[in-house]
Amino acid sequence: MNSEATAVERGGPFDRAARAVRVAMDAAVRGMRPARPVESSPLGSGRRNQRLLTIAIAALVSAGMLAAGSGGYLYAKAAAGQALLHWAWARGAANGTPVKPWPWADTHPVARLIVARQHVDELVLAGASGRTLAWGPGHLDDSAPPGAPGNTVLSAHRDTHFRFLQHLVPGDDIVVELVDRTRRHYRVRDVAIVDVRALRIPRDTAVPTLTLVTCYPFDAVMPGGPLRYVVVAEAEGHVRGRPLLASAAAAALR
C-alpha cells in the first residue's frame, strides 16, 4: 500500500502499475468466473439457490452427524454396557444370584471372560439376540452353560467385544469366571475362518469346549457377510476328543 501511495504521487509509473494490477485481477476473475454477475454463480444463482445450497449443507451436516452419532452411540453402548455389567457382577458376587445390570434388562451376566494377554475382561450375557449383543458377548441358549460339560458357544460383534479374537493364537489361555466365582481355564486349539454355510458347531463335545464366534473380516464396513471367525478352545487337562468343527471340509482344519 505504501509503495502504491508513493506511486500515485509519482504519476506515470502508478498508471502502469494500476493497469497491470487491473489486467491481472480481470484475468483472475475471468479465469474463475468469466464476466458473469454474482447472481449467476455456478453454485446457485440468486437467493433461492443460495438458500438451497445452505439447506443442502445443513442436511448433509445433520445426516452426517446423525450417522456418525448413531455409529458412535453403538460403541458408547458397548462400552457403557460393560461398565454396568461389571458393577452388576460385583453386586451379584455379594448375594450369589444373578443381578440385572439395569432394571429393565431382559438378560443378565452369566460369566466373565478374561484373556489377560489381550487385556480383555468382559461379561457374558445370557442369550445372543441382537439386543443382548449390543451390550456384551452373548451365550447361545442352546449350547452348554458356561462351565458345564459340552460346548459353550459365545458370540459377539467383530467390531466391539470380539475384536480381540483376531489376535488369539493356538495355545492362548482363556479364563471363564462362573457365577459361583470359580474359574475355568481353556486353551485355544483352533482358529478358523469359515463360511457360515459350511459351519456346524457340535453341542455335545466330549471335552468341555469354549467356542467363540464373530463375523469376519474384522475391518469390513458392511455388516452381514457370510464369513465367520471361529476360535475353539478346550478345557485344560482334557485329552483331545472328537472333531470340533464338523463340516464338509473339516479335514482341512487339521
Binding site: G11, S41, A67, A68, L140, S155, P243
Partner: protein
C-alpha cells in the same frame, strides 16, 4: 450476552411470513437430508461392497477357509432340466432330462442332488453324448458305484443315478469335457393322487435344506461313496453328506432352469385344470386332451410344481381297475372311491395337540402359512375339546404342560402364543414328537395330533419309528408347509400315524386346505378295510390304512394266475356299519396299461422298507429288495442305474474335478435363518461412521465451494474498487 439479547429481540419481531419461511426451510432440509442420506447410503454401499468382496477374497495366507467342496471359487458345470410328462388316466410317465454343460476349460465330474415325487418308480436311465445314446443298467448300489468309478478311472464317460431317500436322488456324471454337454435322462412311473374330487400331479423342484441332528462322526471315510454335501455325517444321519447339496447364496442369481411340458389325457371331460404355483399355458386338444407348458418357458428350480384337475360333475370315476400283462405275469392297479358319508355324527369331544415347526427353514413365507393355519385350527375347536400347542426348533416349548380345556381364556392365550411364534434355529423334531405322543391317556376323548412342518430333516427313519412306537390310540395328521416340503416324510408320518396329510404351499391356500383337512380329521369314513380277490394275489399295501373323506382306496397287486377274472370285493366299516363294493376284474384282452407292474414293484419295495424299519432282519429285506428292483429295473435304496460309454474320451490320466452342483434355496425361505444359525455379529457401526464421515466431508466441500464463489465476488468487488480508485486518482492527477 448482549448479542443473545439482540437475537432474542429479533426473533420476537418475526412476522408470520418469516415463520412460514422457517417452516419451509425445515421441510426442505428434511427432504434434502433424506435424499442426501439415500445417495450417500448408495455410494457407501457400492464402495463398501467392493471393499468387502476384496476383504473375503484375499484371506490371509495360512488361515483356514472352509467353504463348500469346491471352495466356492471354481465354476461348476451348469445344469438345465427338461421335464416331459405323459399323463393318462390315473398314471403318469415322466422323463426328466438333465443337461450338464461344462463351461470351463477343464474336465469335470458333476454331482447333482435333486428331488422327485416320493412315489416315483425310477426305471430308466440314458445318457446322450453328441449323437450317441447309452442305455443305463440297474445294478446293486455298490456294484453300480464300482462300475462308475472304474469307467471314470479309464477316462470313459459315465453316469450314475442313486436313491438317497425315496424322494431324493443323486446324479453323477463323469468326464464332461471342456465346453461339452452331456444329457442324462431319467424316467419314472407314478400313480396320481386323487383326493376330494381332484387329481393332483406334484413335481418337486427344490429341496428345503435338511436339518441334520446329532453330532459329527469322528471317522471320515476315505470311501469314494462319500457325498459332496456340505454337512458331515452324524451319529443320527449317517449319510448327511449325501443329502445336503450346496445352496446358492442369495443375490448371486438363481440356477438350474427347468422347462415343463405335459401331455394330459385325463380320460374324462374336465371342470377345472390349473397349475397351483406356476403360470402355465394350456392348449386344449381334441378328445379332452390338453397340452400344458410353463408360461415363461423355463423357471429356476425353486419351488414345487403342481398341476390339478377336476372332472366334470358326473364324470368323476368312482372306481377303476388297470391291468398290465408282462412276461406272462399280470399286474393290477385298483382304485375305489367310497361314497361320501351321510351326515356325519357330531364329533366326539376331542383332545388335539398341535405341533408347529418354528425352525430356521420355516422362516419367511412358511411361518406365515403355519400361523394362519394354526389360527384357523383354533377357531374350529369346540367347547368340551381339550388342546395344546407345542412349538419346537432347537428346543421344544409347549404352551401347556398337558392339554387344557377349550374356553375363551385358553383360546385367547393360544392365539397370543401363535402370534408370538418366530422361526429360528434347528429342527430337533424328536423331542417335540415325544412330548406330543407322551401325554397320559385321558378317558373319553378321541386323541389327535396335528403336525405343521416342512419336514426338512435328515433323520426320517428315526422319527417314523418313534411315531409308530408311541402312537397308541392317537391319530397323527401332517400339514406340509412351504414352497418345497419333504413330501416323503410328511406322507409316511401321516401313514405311520394312521392319519392323513395335506400340503399348503401358499398363504392363499390356507383357508381352503385347512378347511378340507379339519373336516376330514373329524372322523375317518372307512376303517377295517379288507379286499377279497377272486384268486391268489400279492397286493400292496398289505394292511390298508383308514380312509378319510374324499380319499380313495388304492392298491396294486400281482395276480398269481394270469387268467384270473371275477369280481373283487371291498369291505369296510363306515359309520358303524359294514360297507361293501364290488368291481369286475377283466383279464385277457382289454386295455393293457403299461407301467402297472413297475408301480406294483415299487409298492412292494416300500412295504419291505417299512418292514425293515419295524425290525425285520435287514439282510433278508435287502436281498428281497435287490431281487425285486433288479427284476423290474428299479432304482431303490440298494440299487442304482449306471450308464457307461465304452469309448474313452478323456485324455489318459485326466482327473476330472468333482463339482457339487448348487441348488436354489426354495422361494420365500430365508438363507440366513437356515445357515446363519449364529447371531449376526457385526454392528452397522463402521458403516454409520463411514457414511457420517462422507456426509460431513461433502458438506465441507459444498461450504468451501460456496466460500470460494463468494471469494470470487470479493475479488470482483475488489477489482471494481481498484478500478474506481484508479479513475479517481487519475482525475485527481
Amino acid at each position: 450476552m448482549a448479542q443473545a439479547g439482540r437475537a432474542m429481540a429479533r426473533g420476537a419481531g418475526f412476522g408470520a411470513g418469516a415463520w412460514r419461511d422457517i417452516g419451509r426451510l425445515l421441510l426442505e432440509s428434511v427432504a434434502a437430508g433424506t435424499l442426501v442420506s439415500l445417495v450417500l447410503g448408495l455410494a457407501v454401499f457400492i464402495v463398501a461392497t467392493q471393499a468387502h468382496a476384496a476383504g473375503s477374497g484375499d484371506v490371509r495366507q495360512g488361515t483356514l477357509v472352509l467353504r463348500d467342496a469346491d471352495g466356492g471359487k471354481v465354476v461348476a458345470p451348469l445344469l438345465f432340466t427338461d421335464v416331459h410328462m405323459d399323463v393318462s388316466g390315473m398314471t403318469a410317465r415322466v422323463r426328466v432330462v438333465q443337461r450338464f454343460v461344462n463351461p470351463t476349460s477343464e474336465w469335470r465330474e458333476g454331482v447333482y442332488v435333486f428331488p422327485l415325487p416320493e412315489k416315483a418308480a425310477v426305471d430308466h436311465l440314458d445318457m446322450t453324448i453328441g449323437e450317441r445314446v447309452i442305455q443305463g443298467q440297474v445294478k446293486e448300489r455298490d456294484e453300480a458305484r464300482r462300475t462308475y468309478e472304474a469307467a471314470k478311472a479309464d477316462g470313459n464317460k459315465a453316469s450314475l443315478v442313486e436313491q438317497e431317500r425315496p424322494n431324493l436322488f443323486t446324479t453323477s456324471v463323469a468326464h464332461i469335457g471342456p465346453d461339452e454337454t452331456i444329457a442324462v435322462a431319467i424316467e419314472y412311473q407314478q400313480s396320481l393322487a386323487y383326493d376330494t374330487g381332484s387329481f393332483a400331479l406334484r413335481f418337486p423342484l427344490a429341496i428345503t435344506p435338511r436339518y441334520i441332528p446329532g453330532s459329527a462322526l469322528a471317522e471320515t471315510t476315505a470311501d469314494s461313496n462319500v457325498g459332496s454335501g456340505t454337512v458331515a455325517p452324524t451319529d443320527q444321519v449317517a449319510d448327511a453328506d449325501r443329502i445336503t447339496p450346496p445352496v446358492v447364496v442369495p443375490g448371486t442369481g438363481a440356477v438350474n432352469p427347468v422347462a415343463i411340458d405335459i401331455d394330459l389325457n385325463p380320460g374324462f371331460p374336465l371342470a377345472r385344470l390349473a397349475s397351483t404355483y406356476h403360470d402355465v399355458r394350456i392348449e386344449e386338444r381334441t378328445g379332452h386332451r390338453y397340452h400344458v407348458t410353463l408360461a415363461d418357458g423355463a423357471v429356476p428350480a425353486a419351488r414345487d410344481f403342481e398341476l390339478a384337475w377336476t372332472p366334470d360333475v358326473g364324470a368323476a370315476p368312482g372306481a377303476a381297475v388297470l391291468t398290465e400283462e408282462r412276461d406272462g405275469r399280470k399286474f393290477a392297479l385298483l382304485m375305489v372311491l367310497p361314497p361320501v358319508t351321510d351326515a356325519a355324527a357330531p364329533p366326539a369331544p376331542r383332545e388335539i395337540t398341535y405341533i408347529v415347526d418354528t425352525s430356521g427353514s420355516m422362516e419367511g413365507v412358511s411361518i406365515d402359512q403355519a400361523k394362519e393355519a394354526l389360527v384357523m385350527a383354533l377357531e374350529r375347536l369346540q367347547p368340551g375339546d381339550r388342546f395344546n400347542i407345542i412349538e419346537f426348533n432347537s428346543v421344544t416349548r409347549p404352551l401347556h404342560a398337558a392339554p387344557v380345556p377349550v374356553d375363551a381364556t385358553t383360546l385367547a392365550e393360544a392365539r397370543r402364543f401363535v402370534r408370538s411364534l418366530r422361526a429360528q434355529g434347528g429342527t430337533e423334531m424328536l423331542p417335540a414328537l415325544t412330548a406330543a405322543l407322551g401325554t397320559a391317556r385321558s378317558d373319553t376323548a378321541m386323541r389327535q395330533v396335528v403336525f405343521l412342518t416342512d419336514g426338512a430333516v435328515g433323520n426320517e427313519t428315526e422319527l417314523l419309528r418313534l411315531i409308530e412306537a408311541r402312537l397308541g390310540d392317537r391319530r397323527l395328521f401332517t400339514i406340509g408347509i412351504g414352497p418345497a416340503p419333504n413330501t416323503y416324510f410328511l406322507k409316511k408320518a401321516a401313514e405311520a400315524g394312521r392319519g392323513t396329510f395335506t400340503f399348503i404351499g401358499d398363504v392363499r391356500e390356507v383357508k381352503e386346505k385347512m378347511g378340507a383337512l379339519l373336516r376330514k380329521i373329524e372322523s375317518p369314513v372307512l376303517t377295517d378295510i379288507d379286499v377279497v380277490w377272486p384268486g391268489g394275489v400279492v397286493a400292496y399295501p398289505g394292511k390298508l390304512p383308514d380312509l378319510y373323506a374324499g380319499e380313495p382306496v388304492v392298491l396294486t397287486a400281482e395276480l398269481q394266475d394270469a387268467k384270473l377274472a371275477g369280481p373283487v370285493t371291498l369291505a369296510g366299516v363306515r359309520a358303524g356299519k359294514v360297507w361293501t363294493a364290488t368291481l369286475p376284474l377283466e383279464t385277457g384282452g382289454g386295455t393293457n396299461a403299461p407301467g402297472v407292474g413297475v408301480l406294483w414293484a415299487r409298492d412292494k419295495i416300500e412295504a419291505l422298507m417299512d418292514a425293515k424299519r419295524n425290525g425285520a432282519p435287514a439282510d433278508e429285506i435287502r436281498k428281497e429288495v435287490v431281487a425285486t428292483a433288479l427284476e423290474h429295473h428299479l432304482v431303490s435304496a440298494y440299487t442304482s442305474l449306471v450308464a457307461v460309454d465304452v469309448t474313452p474320451t478323456a485324455p489318459p490320466g485326466t482327473i476330472a474335478k468333482k463339482s457339487a452342483l448348487p441348488t436354489n434355496l426354495p422361494e420365500g425361505e430365508s438363507y440366513s435363518a437356515i445357515f446363519g444359525g449364529l447371531p449376526q455379529t457385526a454392528t452397522p457401526g463402521p458403516l454409520l461412521l463411514v457414511a457420517g464421515a462422507l456426509a460431513l466431508a461433502l458438506a465441507a466441500m459444498l461450504a468451501a465451494g460456496r466460500r470460494l464463489a463468494r471469494g470470487r465476488d470479493v475479488v470482483h468487488d475488489a477489482v471494481r474498487v481498484v478500478d474506481a480508485a484508479v479513475h479517481a486518482a487519475r482525475r485527481v492527477c
